[in-house]
């Protein structure tokens, strides 16, 4: 039981970090960023290059992932999403752009890094074993878990207590009112998109330490991130965090307790989500955030 809870918490923290960037972009721009998973993968490869291939410190790899995706996010917002959103009021336009971007990133990543799964040397060796295998957790997972929680906390503090954070929250709550109060939608829209991409890149960079990275996984990561965002409520930061932990726990408990009934774990999880969303379509915390 203890191991199942630990597995669920760790998985949930990973999921929450992945979903944060997606929900931020959705809240600010009402854009479903289908390329979020590919940005995660790109971040993973940056850390892989710096730490795994060049042998430089892991923290430097994370910083390179963060900065690269920050720049990618800013460029994508300024030169792709902003013109499209300005010219078209239809949601499909931005969705198509995001889907195209996902395919583009997939192809570029495949060309640059090949199709193979890549891993990196362990950031820290050893395993913590409590109570004679009652709870086992590798040290690298502890480090990654702690970093994940710290990053989530830093993000929440940034959004709550800094001027750009407040500006972005204002834009998310009421774009027109925020603009009338002098908030630059262009500047903070770009910052928000860049931050969302950076969070995806950081998640990819951090998790490359425990799960490696592979060019073909972007699409499935995006889908899972959407799932978490929908559970918590689209555009709500605490909702994405809650969604991540709920999904993590459901997987961990389901895989241990439903296995006796055959391969129904994911069937039960997805059926439960369908029922939940039919009862509460806006998710746990709904929109807007605050």
């Amino acid at each position: 039981m203890e191991q199942i809870v630990v597995n669920g918490l760790y998985l949930g923290a990973q999921y929450a970090l992945i979903a944060l960037g997606l929900t931020l972009i959705f809240a600010l721009m009402n854009v479903l960023n289908f390329a979020h998973g590919q940005m995660y993968v790109l971040g993973g490869y940056m850390t892989y290059l710096v730490y795994g291939k060049l042998g430089m410190p892991f923290a430097l790899g994370l910083a390179v992932s963060a900065l690269t995706l920050l720049a990618v996010g800013a460029v994508v917002e300024k030169f792709l999403f902003r013109p499209v959103l300005r010219k078209s009021a239809r949601d499909e336009s931005s969705m198509l752009l995001a889907a195209g971007l996902a395919f583009f990133f997939d192809s570029i990543i495949l060309l640059l890094f090949g199709q193979k799964q890549h891993g990196v040397p362990k950031i820290i060796e050893g395993v913590q074993n409590w109570g004679d295998f009652t709870v086992v957790i590798p040290n690298d997972k502890i480090v990654v878990g702690v970093c994940t929680v710290l990053m989530i906390a830093a993000f929440i503090i940034f959004m709550q207590y800094t001027k750009p954070g407040r500006a972005m929250r204002a834009l998310a709550q009421d774009r027109t009112a925020a603009q009338l109060m002098g908030v630059s939608a262009d500047r903070y829209g770009m910052l928000g998109f860049a931050l969302g991409a950076m969070l995806a890149g950081l998640a990819g960079g951090l998790l490359v330490a425990t799960t490696g990275v592979s060019s073909g996984i972007g699409g499935s990561i995006s889908i899972k991130a959407f799932l978490m965002v929908m559970i918590g409520g689209a555009g709500v930061v605490p909702g994405a965090i809650a969604g991540g932990f709920i999904l993590g726990m459901m997987e961990s408990f389901g895989l241990s307790y439903l296995r006796a009934y055959g391969d129904i774990t994911y069937l039960v999880i997805f059926a439960s989500l369908m029922v939940f969303l039919s009862i509460r379509p806006h998710g746990l915390m709904g929109k807007p955030w605050g």
């Binding site: 191991q3 199942i4 597995n7 669920g8 760790y10 998985l11 990973q14 795994g52 997939d106 192809s107 495949l110 090949g114 199709q115 193979k116 799964q117 890549h118 891993g119 990196v120 040397p121 362990k122 395993v127 074993n129 295998f133 086992v136 590798p138 998790l207 425990t210 799960t211 490696g212 592979s214 060019s215 073909g216 996984i217 699409g219 499935s220 990561i221 889908i223 899972k224 997987e251 961990s252 895989l255 241990s256 296995r259 391969d263 774990t265 994911y266």
Partner: protein, 394 residues
């Protein structure tokens, strides 16, 4: 002036015609061979190794002036189609091959996509070489599909028997992705294990997009099976499962009935992957010929890195070319190809000694609908595969 213009025009036309026609008169014919398989997404590695094998071999043949089939010399052109592991795309791909006049196709790489292309291949006269295991593709009345590798129901029993007799394995657990290929391979493995008298402790599944395997592996580790089989596991996933199981304290044996990649195991699981047993590529260093060494060199030069899976995947196109050389009428008639399959026996260029290229599959399918390659079972140790034993199908 008018005459000069006419003269110039005539000269231009004549030059264009001579430039256009002269090479055609001297050039070799083109033999198109198709690939319909997955080259994007999580399973991209399976199809990409196919495509790279085909491209490397085709370039090699063309560099040497083409391949002589009957009285005609052909240059080989590879036409590829990414199924994206989607059945509709796979069917579209096979239809495209038909439109291109292609009769020989390598792929698809998964059970559902292989089943999806079957009606088109049978209707329009295409022989295809899937890397998918459903027996109905290869047993009568089907006759157009040729299995391009060793199936899990052929390798599984051999591996379990070896481990039972040599490593004292008595109990076994199965873990597969929750998708048709892997689940059907898991089912085949369970039947084989039961037939050998092994106790099946678990038959679990995980979502195919899983990256952290601790939750999926935890219940199996608690059961302490002697052997954990990763049914139908993709090359990129195996190291993640191995790492999770070992870190959670699993000390038993682990195996897969699919080919794996040493570099990915080393990268993803490091020393934790030592002892992992899998079906190796069919041309391990101990048995490969100088021609295979040259193939690996060319492949690495063209594509930057080599895939161990390509040790097996190099064979499908060689079988197609050798069968066509043996019966040139088959170039546009797959019925002729099928007749030749029953009798083909030519030296295997990729192996040492006097091994032959011969179609097999009589025992498993009742007809020769499988490329004959050695079944090499390997054990991973410190970054490379070591051969445990070599045997043959049929």
């Amino acid at each position: 002036m008018q005459n000069i213009k006419k003269l110039a025009l005539a000269f231009g036309v004549a030059s264009t015609l001579s430039l256009g026609l002269a090479p055609v008169a001297n050039a070799a014919e083109t033999l198109k061979i198709g690939f319909v398989g997955v080259t994007s997404g999580a399973k991209a590695g399976w199809g990409i190794s196919n495509v790279r094998c085909m491209q490397t071999r085709a370039k090699w043949v063309n560099d040497e002036g083409g391949i002589k089939i009957g009285d005609t010399t052909y240059n080989i052109e590879i036409v590829t189609w990414d199924t994206q592991d989607n059945t509709t795309r796979a069917k579209e791909g096979m239809e495209k091959m038909v439109q291109e006049g292609i009769h020989y196709v390598i792929g698809p790489n998964t059970d559902p996509t292989a089943a999806a292309v079957r009606p088109v291949a049978e209707r329009d006269g295409v022989m295809y070489f899937p890397y998918a295991f459903p027996k109905e593709l290869y047993t009568k009345p089907a006759s157009n599909a040729v299995l391009g590798m060793i199936a899990n129901y052929q390798s599984g029993p051999a591996i379990y028997k070896y481990l039972k007799e040599n490593k004292g394995v008595k109990s076994i657990a199965f873990l597969a992705a929750n998708e048709s290929d892997a689940l059907s391979q898991r089912e085949g493995g369970i039947q084989a294990a039961k037939a050998l008298g092994l106790k099946v402790l678990a038959q679990d599944a995980y979502q195919s997009d899983t990256r952290d395997f601790a939750p999926a592996v935890t219940p199996i580790v608690k059961l302490k099976p002697d052997l954990l089989v990763l049914s139908g596991v993709a090359g990129g996933t195996a190291p993640l499962i191995i790492r999770a199981a070992r870190e959670l304290g699993y000390t038993g044996l682990m195996s897969a009935e699919t080919a794996q990649d040493a570099m990915q195991l080393k990268d993803g699981a490091g020393d934790l992957a030592n002892g992992f047993i899998s079906v190796g590529g069919a041309s391990t260093p101990e048995i490969r010929s100088a021609m295979m060494e040259e193939f690996i060199r060319r492949y690495t030069e063209d594509h930057g890195q080599y895939d161990d899976e390509s040790n097996t995947k190099v064979y499908a196109m060689e079988y197609i070319l050798e069968t066509l050389k043996a019966n040139p009428k088959a170039i546009n008639d797959v019925e002729e190809f099928k007749k030749t399959m029953d009798t083909l026996s030519v030296p295997n260029p990729y192996m040492k000694g006097d091994r032959k290229l011969e179609y097999v599959g009589l025992t498993s399918f009742g007809q020769k609908r499988q490329v004959g390659i050695p079944m090499v079972v390997t054990e991973y140790q410190d970054g490379e595969f070591q051969t445990l034993f070599v045997t043959n199908v049929d």
